[in-house]
Structure formats: C-alpha cells, structure tokens
Amino acid sequence: MVKTPGTEAPPRPTTPHRQAPSPLEEHLRTLAGQVPDPELPVITLAELGVLRDVRLTSPDHAQVDLTPTYTGCPALQNMATDVEHTLHTAGITHVTVRTVLTPPWTTDDITPDGLRKLADFGIAPPRPQHTTGPITISLGPTRTDTPPPACPHCGSTDTELLSRFSSTACKALHRCLNCREPFDHFKEL
C-alpha cells in the first residue's frame, strides 16, 4: 500500500456569493444543461456535473462556467461551442464560456440519472467516493481493481482490468470473465 500524505478531504469550497439566479437564468441553465456530452451523448452536461453556472451580465450577454472532467479533456472545446450555439438559439447574442478548475470535478458530481444512463449505455459507472482527496493507490498484482466493477452487460463482478486508460482519459478498459465481453469503466476521479 502506498499511502499518500494528507488524504483527508478539505472542505468543499462553495460557489462564490452571487445573487439568486433570475427565472431567465434558470431557464438558460436548463437549456445549457441539456446539451449532450460530445463523447458520451447519452448523458447531458448537467448530468455529467460539468456545468457550474449560467448568469446574465447584461440582458444580451450570458457567462457560462464549465469545468473539465480531466484538465486535458479535448471535449471541453466542443462543449463550449455547443453551449454557445444553444444559448444563441435561445436569443442570447453574446455568450462567454469560462473554464473553472475550483473545486475540481469529481465523478461524485455525476447525477444519479447520469450514472444510470452510463450503465444503460454499457459503461460501468464510477462508484461513489467518500473523500475528494487524492486516490489511495494499492500496489498489487496486475489486472486487478478492488473491488472490481460489475460488468454492465451481465452484472457479474468477476471482471479483470485490461488497461487503466481506454478510448478516453476518463475510462478504463475491463473484461468480464463471466460473459467474456470487454467493457469500459468510468473510473473514479
């Protein structure tokens, strides 16, 4: 076991103080939140938990805060473009999309609906984490993950890890030893 120092979770920062959103801001946030994820179109930005805020700085200018899942996630640019397009269509002339890093996104930010949709799509959803601190790494034999994620196809937990990194940074590649199907696991972050 390699224990990383200081793994106790720091208190989660709250959104900086701002006025309660107006009905129009709520509406725009709902619209922006319905934009599908560019790489996993079964779930929306709201369900993925990456839409942090939508506010109007003037009647025709909306400012949107998005947070990346991974710092280098190339889908972020597409998300920004799609949100801009959606808000333009809703009649907002100017849209500014900001990238915010604090507090860092975690897979716990995915909504219950989002988790269910991932599973229905064939991706083993991330399991809840109890801290937001760094991950404790266990240095064990290869091809294990404790506890192993359940196969999204047959539900068996008799699965093995093929690779920590799959088609995107946020997923790991596993194989079910029961039904023999390979599957992606949205890894905990």
């Binding site: 390699v2 990383t4 120092p5 200081g6 793994t7 720091p10 990346p68 991974y70 710092t71 280098g72 996630c73 190339p74 990238t99 890093l101 604090t102 507090p103 860092p104 996104w105 975690t106 601190g133 760094p134 991950i135 790494i137 240095l139 034999p141 290869t142 093929l162 690779s163 920590r164 990194f165 799959s166 088609s167 995107t168 940074a169 590649l173 890894k187 972050l189």
Partner: protein, 254 residues
C-alpha cells in the same frame, strides 16, 4: 484566465511545471503507433493528453500558450532534464514515468493539501498553480499507478525484461536529484517531498525485484541543469520536431 498585467513572482515555478508537462507530453506522444500493445498506445497518449492540458493551463497564466510552446529556444525552457530524455525501449520509458510521475503526484498532492501560506510570501499566480494541482493530483495518481504496475511486471517478469528494467532504472537515476530543486515563488516542503519520493521508489523497486541504485542522483559534471535552462543534447532535436510546423507556417490552423 487572462494574462496578468504585472509579471507574477511565481511565474518561474509555473513555467518550470508547464515545461515539464509539455516536454514529457511530447515524448510520450512519440509512442503513438509504436507502443508494444494497443492498450499502451492508448494509455501513453492519454497520459500525454493529461500533461498537455496541465501545461496549457499554466502557460495561459503566463501569456500566449503557442508563443511559449513553439517560439522559445532551448535555453529558455525550464523543464527538468529527466523529462526530455529519449524514450529508449519501453522499459526506459516506464522508468522515466516511474521517477517523474511519483514526483509529480507527490508534488501536486503537497500543493493541493497544504494550506496556502500568507499572501505576503506567495503572489497571485501561486493560488492558480495550487488550484490546478488539486485537479492534477488526481490525474497523476493514475499516471503513477500505471508506471508502478508496469515496473512490477517488467522487473518481476522474464530475465530479459528484468535486465532491461534494471538498466533503465540505473541510467535515469542521475536525473532524479534535479526534481527536488526549489521552484521559485512556491512554498514547498522539499525535504518531505524528496524523502517520500525515495521511500515510494524504494518500495516499488524492491517489490519488482529490482535494485535501488546507490550512485549519486545528480551528475558531478552538470553546471546546473534544466531548471537553469541547461539541457541535454537530444532536447534540441526534440524541440526542432515539436516547433517545426509552427515556425515554418506561422499562424497556420486547420
């Protein structure tokens, strides 16, 4: 994030960390299409992508990211020499990953979890570096785990994989001392960082049936090193390849 009007004091630290991430991302990208198995092709490219994302955030704190990446000369880069070392064979790349990602993970964890010092001792760039560190700590935990698992498989694998892994561990050892130099403008507990690094590396190598090198972790002949802008011979060639397109076709896009 917009470029600050005055040059922040933590700029040298941000530049060093950004250059580490960019240069290693470029090296790892060289594996695309060449890794031993498809899963590793994907894994190394994913790690490179994380690093590139971290570099972009840091460069954006300092100015124009393209100018910083593509238009600086070799001597202006502040990355540690470890990350510019050529890929070599797969064991060599894994040894470089083990040394660097262990440092990277411990560094980001320390930056993210220790309370920020008084504003008097750190300037306005430092909190941005710490905000990125909170994200990067979680990403680099996976990089580190990837390197540790491969070190185990290669070290405790066949006689050939053991031999190559030991050779790589020994060859790159002398570049690891540099990782624990001060980063200007950031308050760090370098002593704890280095001691935790050494313990972690020793644990992994021992479990992988490899021998921890006993030679010095810096070369007697280096006059400073990467953090002072002094680089090894292969770095210029790597930069030439990385910067060639941008310099030949300024402002090109697709």
């Amino acid at each position: 994030m917009t470029a600050p009007a005055t040059k922040p004091q933590a700029a040298p630290a941000a530049l060093a960390l950004a250059d580490d991430a960019l240069v290693l991302a470029q090296r790892l990208g060289e594996w695309a299409g060449h890794a031993p198995v498809l899963e590793e092709d994907v894994a190394l490219a994913n790690i490179a992508l994380d690093l590139l994302g971290q570099a972009r955030v840091l460069y954006t704190l300092l100015g124009d990211e393209d100018e910083l990446a593509y238009l600086r000369e070799e001597r202006a880069f502040r990355n540690a020499q470890l990350v510019e070392q050529p890929n070599g064979d797969f064991a060599h790349t894994i040894a470089r990953q083990l040394y660097f990602s262990t440092y990277h993970h411990l560094l980001h964890t320390q930056l993210a979890t220790t309370p920020a010092p008084d504003a008097a001792t750190e300037d306005t760039t430092a909190p941005d570096i710490r905000a990125l560190a909170a994200k990067a700590a979680k990403e680099t935990a996976y990089h580190r785990e990837h390197a540790e698992l491969w070190t185990l498989r290669l070290g405790d694998g066949t006689p050939e994989s053991h031999h190559r892994m030991q050779r790589a561990i020994d060859t790159l050892w002398r570049y690891t001392g540099e990782l624990f130099q001060d980063l200007d403008g950031l308050q760090l507990d370098l002593h704890t960082l280095e001691s935790n690094w050494h313990t972690a590396i020793t644990d992994t190598l021992t479990q992988a049936t490899l021998t921890v090198p006993e030679s010095p972790r810096t070369s007697a002949w280096t006059a400073g090193a990467g953090r002072q802008g002094l680089h090894t011979e292969t770095f210029g060639r790597m930069l030439a390849e990385m910067q060639h397109l941008h310099r030949s076709h300024p402002g090109a896009s697709w």
